[in-house]
């Protein structure tokens, strides 16, 4: 639901013609960024959780699957987030799971953005048959329910790690990014400064990187942020259905274990509330950050 807004937006901008960023505009962006509450709050929440992933593991001596104490203990000074129905430390699982989520977000979202950019640039800049071919490919991957695809791939993998999961997510999540980047490249391609570069004999690859890409940096950044959040959600869903990493813990797996091992029936809410809450907070903040960035980059949306 967030994605299509971006596609629509790219169509809109297509019509309006993208304003070309000049150097002094950067200062203006920073000025508005520092005054944008949405951006600041979103960034603060994401950084807060990022901080937990770095310093959180320092406060635990346990392994995530070690049986360390009495079962089903509520949160206390001893066990900060309580223990599971097996007597595992929920806090340990939580901080490690959080790390897994960030890794999936960065790698999966990064790969998806990268593929989207490459395909979008190629299709938009080359046009013609290349565009047509890539368009069909994009549309096919777009209609395939990627979750079902991941399901069947993961089901046949005996050993699954965070990395494999991220890579698979990255390779299936790129289509809408490709479509949006293509639309923008297409509109920039026929602008005077690009024509000028082409006439001066600049190579296509260089034109893309020095003339076209800088004009949509803000857009690419926002694409990455959305892909980041999307990858975290997909990974959590996949983990929850039992196809998560086999060698470590993740937030989705925590919820999976909690449901499978009676956390609901025994009222062990401290096992399933934190992981879902963290995902909601991180992904939600990313989305809100995205709105903030949009307002910073697009003068029309700034609060009057």
């Amino acid at each position: 639901m967030i994605e299509q807004i971006n596609i629509k937006k790219s169509e809109k901008i297509d019509k309006d013609k993208i304003p070309v960023i000049k150097q002094k505009k950067i200062n203006e962006f920073i000025y508005f960024a520092l005054r944008n509450t949405k951006l600041k709050v979103g960034l603060a929440v994401v950084l807060f959780f990022l901080l937990i992933t770095f310093i959180g593991p320092l406060f635990t001596d346990y392994r995530w699957n070690a049986y360390i104490g009495p079962i089903s203990q509520p949160p206390s000074a001893e066990y900060w987030l309580g223990t599971t129905t097996f007597g595992q430390d929920v806090y340990t699982q939580f901080v490690l799971g959080l790390r897994a989520s960030f890794i999936v977000g960065v790698i999966g979202g990064g790969i998806a953005t990268l593929i989207g950019i490459i395909i979008g640039f190629t299709a938009g800049y080359r046009g013609g048959m290349v565009d047509e071919g890539l368009n069909i490919l994009t549309n096919i991957i777009l209609v395939i329910p990627t979750f079902a695809l991941l399901l069947i791939i993961a089901a046949y993998l005996k050993v699954r790690g965070i990395m494999t999961e991220s890579i698979f997510i990255g390779f299936t999540a790129w289509p809408w990014a490709a479509r949006a980047v293509r639309a923008q490249t297409f509109s920039l391609r026929s602008r005077d400064f690009v024509d000028l570069a082409r006439l001066s004999g600049v190579k296509p690859l260089k034109i893309i990187f020095t003339e076209i890409a800088p004009n949509m940096m803000s857009y690419l950044l926002m694409t990455f942020i959305l892909q980041f959040g999307g990858a975290i959600l997909i990974a959590a869903t996949l983990d929850f259905i039992g196809l998560g990493p086999t060698n470590t813990i993740s937030l989705g797996l925590m919820m999976n274990y909690a449901v499978l091992w009676g956390a609901l029936q025994f009222g062990v809410w401290w096992w399933f509330v934190p992981p879902g809450f963290a995902i909601m907070a991180i992904v939600g903040s990313l989305y809100i950050m995205n709105v903030g960035l949009d307002e910073v980059f697009n003068p029309k949306l700034r609060e009057m």
């Binding site: 639901m1 967030i2 994605e3 299509q4 807004i5 596609i7 629509k8 937006k9 809109k12 069909i136 549309n139 096919i140 777009l142 209609v143 395939i144 329910p145 990627t146 979750f147 079902a148 695809l149 399901l151 069947i152 791939i153 089901a155 046949y156 993998l157 005996k158 809408w176 959040g229 959600l233 997909i234 959590a236 869903t237 929850f240 259905i241 039992g242 196809l243 919820m255 909690a258 449901v259 609901l264 029936q265 009222g267 399933f272 509330v273 992981p275 879902g276 809450f277 995902i279 909601m280 907070a281 991180i282 992904v283 939600g284 990313l286 989305y287 809100i288 709105v291 029309k300 949306l301």
Partner: protein, 330 residues
């Protein structure tokens, strides 16, 4: 019109073709032998293992050349033969899926339609209303960011276990047999409500946010300013904006189908609701590969059909596409 649908159908057919090919290829080209994978889970005596190996090799059709396997796979598919379930042994995969699909549809379709309607209405209402925008906007973003299963778990725990209002497992009471009686239907509805509600709430947030953002773009458009300058009432301007903004929302619905279906699958897992998601979890836990593959194929077909329906709806409600297409073909 023909060109438009021709293109769409070409994409759907290629997608289906690709999906079936993936479905065929993954067990065969993944590292490790699928038959050995299955057998390594069930420890049996040597001679029994040999018999089972023979059975599964034939079941996968691994004993003929690879191109022949591919053709056989398609032939079996068109006969509706998706293999035999390991988990529910003598039963066919297609039987299990057919039994599960009505439950999945029963929570998916109402949740999608109602949330789409309510979310869009609400989003259009909230846009550019200062206090609503500032309170509802972050809430809506948090809702879209909520993992479906988490909301399901929270509802099951709070309303199901703590408050004890709703049952949290199965599709109807354990002591009831399916029949056309009030007691049974009431039980069915009671079991249906929570899975439906958790899907509805998450999607509602998404549509509301999407519509709110879309309508702000429309209100900035020249035609809106022009209407305002003419002194048109706010309500009228909104109505025009809404009709323009709903179109990308419908495209968005098509794009989101995969995510929504995934959400429904995990919601079913939370509530042990006997739809496809429940069976997928069972299949994964029991290494029932035929069942997983059958579900995969079925989800793809369902999503493709839904996409096609959305294409038709789009043409019906957007007169421009209709006029444009007729003009193009004339």
């Amino acid at each position: 019109m023909r060109r438009y649908f021709g293109r769409k159908i070409a994409v759907y057919i290629s997608t289906f073709f690709l999906a079936v090919t993936i479905n065929w290829a993954i067990p065969r080209f993944m590292p490790g032998n699928p038959v050995m994978n299955i057998l390594s889970r069930v420890a049996v005596r040597a001679e029994a293992a040999e018999a089972m190996y023979g059975y599964y090799t034939r079941a996968f059709g691994l004993d003929v050349p690879i191109w022949r396997q591919y053709i056989n796979f398609w032939i079996a598919l068109f006969h509706g033969d998706l293999g035999t379930s390991v988990l529910m042994f003598p039963q066919k995969v297609s039987t299990i899926i057919m039994r599960a699909v009505p439950y999945s549809i029963a929570i998916l379709v109402p949740a999608i339609l109602l949330s789409f309607y309510a979310g869009n209405k609400f989003g259009a209402f909230a846009a550019r209303t200062k206090w609503l925008d500032n309170t509802v906007l972050p809430l809506g973003y948090l809702l879209t960011a909520t993992p479906y299963m988490w909301l399901g778990i929270l509802l099951a725990w709070s309303l199901g276990i703590v408050a004890g209002i709703f049952p949290i497992a199965s599709a109807y009471g354990f002591n009831l047999a399916p029949s056309f009686s009030w007691i049974f239907i009431a039980s069915l509805l009671k079991h249906w409500f929570l899975p439906f509600a958790s899907l509805f709430i998450v999607m509602f947030g998404g549509w509301a946010i999407g519509m709110r953002n879309m309508i702000i773009y429309e209100l900035e458009a020249d035609y809106s300013h022009y209407l305002e300058a003419l002194g048109a009432p706010r309500k009228l301007v909104r109505r025009y904006a809404f009709r323009n903004a709903i179109l990308p929302q419908i495209t968005g619905l098509a794009l989101q189908l995969g995510v929504i279906v995934a959400g429904a699958l995990v919601t079913e897992v939370v509530f042990s609701y006997p739809g496809l998601g429940y069976w997928i979890l069972q299949a994964i836990q029991n290494q029932d590969y035929f069942l997983i593959q059958g579900c995969f194929l079925f989800i793809i077909i369902g999503v493709l059909i839904a996409n096609f329906i959305i294409d038709i709806v789009y043409v019906v409600i957007d007169p421009r596409t209709r006029v444009g297409m007729v003009g193009g073909s004339a």
